[in-house]
Amino acid sequence: MEELDAEPPLMVVPGADPVARQLCFAWGPAEVLVCETLFGRRGTGEGGPSASRVFVVRKDQDIYIQTLRKLFNESHGIFIGLQRSEEELVGKSRKAQLVQVSKNYRSVIRACMEDMHQAACKFVSILSAMELIWNLCEILFVEAAAAGPLLLRLLDWVRLHVCDVDNMVREVLSSENPSKHKLFWNLGNTQTLTEMELKWQHWHEECQRYLQDGTFASNSHMESICKILLGDEDAILEKKELMTTWYHFLVTRLLYSHPTVKPMELRFYAQSSMDLFLGGESSPEPLDTILMAAFEFEMHQVIKECSIALSNWWFVAHLTDLLDHCKLLQSHNLYFGSNMREFLLLEYASGLFSHHSLWQLGVDYFDHCPEYGRVYLELHIERIPLNTEQKALKVLRICEQRQMHEQVRSICKIMAMKALRNNRLGSALSWSIRAKDAAFATLISDRFLKDYCERGCFSDLDLIDNLGPSMLLSDRLTFLGKYREFHRLYGEKRFSEAAKLLLMLMTAHIAPCSFWMTLLTDALPLLEQKEVVFSAEQTYELMRCLEDLTAGKSDKQKFQVDDVETMKVEMLRLALARNLARVIVKEGTLEGS
């Protein structure tokens, strides 16, 4: 187990009883339940105050902030686009593509900041910090700006984020040699780095000469400007109050002393700038540490510090993913061998699952985690409350698309049970068929049959009529389907087919014994048709069935003579005998003709 390198944050449960209480807990799908208790089960466990309370502690509260949802939704689209983007592009075009993705993420952050600003939400400053960090990472890592353009980018970066940055620049532009400055500002497009350096050197020397000649001696203001232009640190530091931050100071310094700074040199200037600016008065804040790590090109450090400082995984997950696409991250081995990108995406997506609709975004993130995405999805998707049929169907579709058969079966079983508890037999049956749950299908079929016996009609006819091959899932279900078919045939007056089916249900033992009496009773109207329906052989079969039934009964139910039952049996015997008589005559007469 890795050692913790920082003291973990202590979270006080508000309102928990002081002194005598201890805390026990349990995991929910997305939260921790904490309740006051006293451990130590001695005897009856009496003693101590009687009331104790339960608290629900959630880790990912950010999910519930309305405006952040826009961030999650829009960045999801960018993320998916990135995963599917053209890997074939190489070199400059690929880099340009990645820079564009980075800019897109930033514009989403800015859009959210706009909304939050309107709503005066406290998150604005956090988003602002996020955008600041991301922007710097874009310049240094994604775009990997080279010496020359690097400073320009940094200038833009500072300008974008600091309110009154332009004071210094305005002063510069109002000075005596604007043309020389224009030269400086026009670099990048037409000039090579060396050309630019030479020009800058030349200008720098000229400025120095002016200063030494005492040209500005009469005007202390102009003199200090000249010193600043020459990159004199002390002079710049004197104007400290105009610069809000050490990185503003850093960029200013670089502008006047090392405009062609190389990326790898940044770390030295950054460190000294921070030291000079803070001057030992204040210690670095988390944001400062993160930016410093970026200037030092310590990507892993940036990610780690951001993970600690920020309250949710959104930032580190998306940034790390982008850096991974830039092929900048070495595989950093964690406990179970997963890489950092995947780890962060898994954590972020897991957090989304605690939300009633954002979980759908989480699915896509899991899809793009090759090692554990699938199993995490399996574990989380089962915990989504299936409040409505539509939601259940949505979840099912996701599982079916990914061949998650176990989850499909589990969800169908849950829905079947729910439907049964609410007495929606048709729904319960279709769910158990979908779950291929034979036992449940049998149970529900029995309920249907019971209903029929009590009410004399079937519910959910559509479903039963169209069972098709799924009828074979369970014997009882098959019987239900066939029995309904019998009724249909009877209704369509296809009596001989109906008769054949009815008999088959008993002789092939598809019908449970408990149902035979009902079937035989159903045979009565067929026996009493004007036209003879049952053949002699069939009639003998029916008689045999009746005898089997009554023989079986008489042993067990000697003392339970049911008048209605006896009457039914008598009626059947009579009807069968009559039918037999008629059919013998008919068959005897028609024979040979």
């Binding site: 006080v12 928990a16 002081p18 026990c24 929910g28 339940l33 208790t37 009496e46 502690v57 574990l379």
Partner: protein, 290 residues
């Protein structure tokens, strides 16, 4: 005094059990806490509750000092006792439902040293198997291993149950963690894990994330929390790793659903959540000092 509180599968309902002999169920959707049921039936403090998988309906098990295990079920909107097991001679300390793939099976650990396994066989009938003398002096905790189908993972034809190897872990007053395996319908002691120097208070078998290793967390009166791992390929060798030694008794350990965080609570008034992956992430919860 609440002794245990458990969320249901979806986090929509909360069950609590208490020394006042009641089991209460709350609806906790949208941050609310509405009492749905107050179940009476135990004659002593109730130590633990456990929710069964929703595919079996709304079912809750509870165990108590009164030596009874009660299974409660919601039918037509009301909660009722559906089964009561009184086969233990002493306080029943822990109940745990098996993975839903095995059916509806409940393991119960008792101070009489035995572990009973109650299996629902249909039509309101339950079958009981008992492991006597599982732990001398008493059994304090039981925890099932996640269901893993041995061999291929091809979809089984309907109606056919795959050949699961059922296992669970138990912790007892003999300072041991034991692993039990079902063979030919009988439960046998498969492993004895020794590392604690005092009563084992809780065991928790980590959910599976598809790795070829099994992981169990155990905590004890001795203040230690161990993580036991077994490389499934080699079969049966479990090795312990000390997670931490706390200054007081550790009562409870539990894994999050993706097994990336283990939470631990103890006599030192804290609940610690630790993640083994990327340093950080310990969350200490402490009652408010006046």
């Amino acid at each position: 005094m609440i002794h245990d509180a458990q969320m249901d599968y979806y986090g929509t309902r909360l069950a609590t059990c208490s020394s006042d002999r009641s089991v209460k169920i709350f609806d906790v959707r949208n941050g609310g806490q509405i009492l749905i049921a107050d179940l009476r039936g135990h004659e002593g403090p109730v130590w633990q509750v456990a929710w069964a998988h929703p595919m079996y309906g709304n079912i809750l098990a509870s165990c108590s000092y009164d030596r009874k295990v009660i299974v409660w079920k919601e039918e037509n909107g009301t909660w009722e006792k559906t089964y009561e097991y009184t086969g233990h001679d002493s306080s029943v300390n822990s109940v745990c439902w098996a993975p839903h793939d095995y059916g509806l099976i409940l393991a119960c650990g008792s101070s009489d040293g035995a572990i009973s396994l109650l299996s629902y066989t249909g039509d309101g009938q339950w079958e009981v198997k008992k492991i006597s003398n599982a732990h001398t002096i008493g059994c304090n905790a039981v925890s099932w291993a996640p269901a893993v189908v041995p061999g291929s993972l091809i979809e089984q034809p309907s109606g056919q149950k795959p050949n699961y190897i059922k296992r669970f872990a138990s912790g007892g007053c003999d300072n041991l963690v034991k692993i039990w395996k079902e063979e030919d319908g009988q439960w046998k002691e498969e492993q004895k894990l020794e590392a604690h120097s005092d009563w084992v208070r809780d065991v928790a078998w980590a959910p599976s994330i598809g790795l070829p290793t099994s992981t169990i967390a155990s905590c004890s009166q001795d203040g230690r929390v161990f993580i036991w791992t077994c490389d499934d390929a080699s079969g049966n060798s479990w090795s312990p790793k000390l997670l931490h030694k706390f200054n007081d008794v550790v009562w409870h350990v539990s894994w999050s659903i993706t097994a990336n965080i283990l939470a631990v609570s103890g006599g030192d008034n804290k609940v610690t959540a630790t993640s083994d992956h990327y340093t950080r992430f310990a969350m200490f919860l402490e009652p408010d000092e006046n």
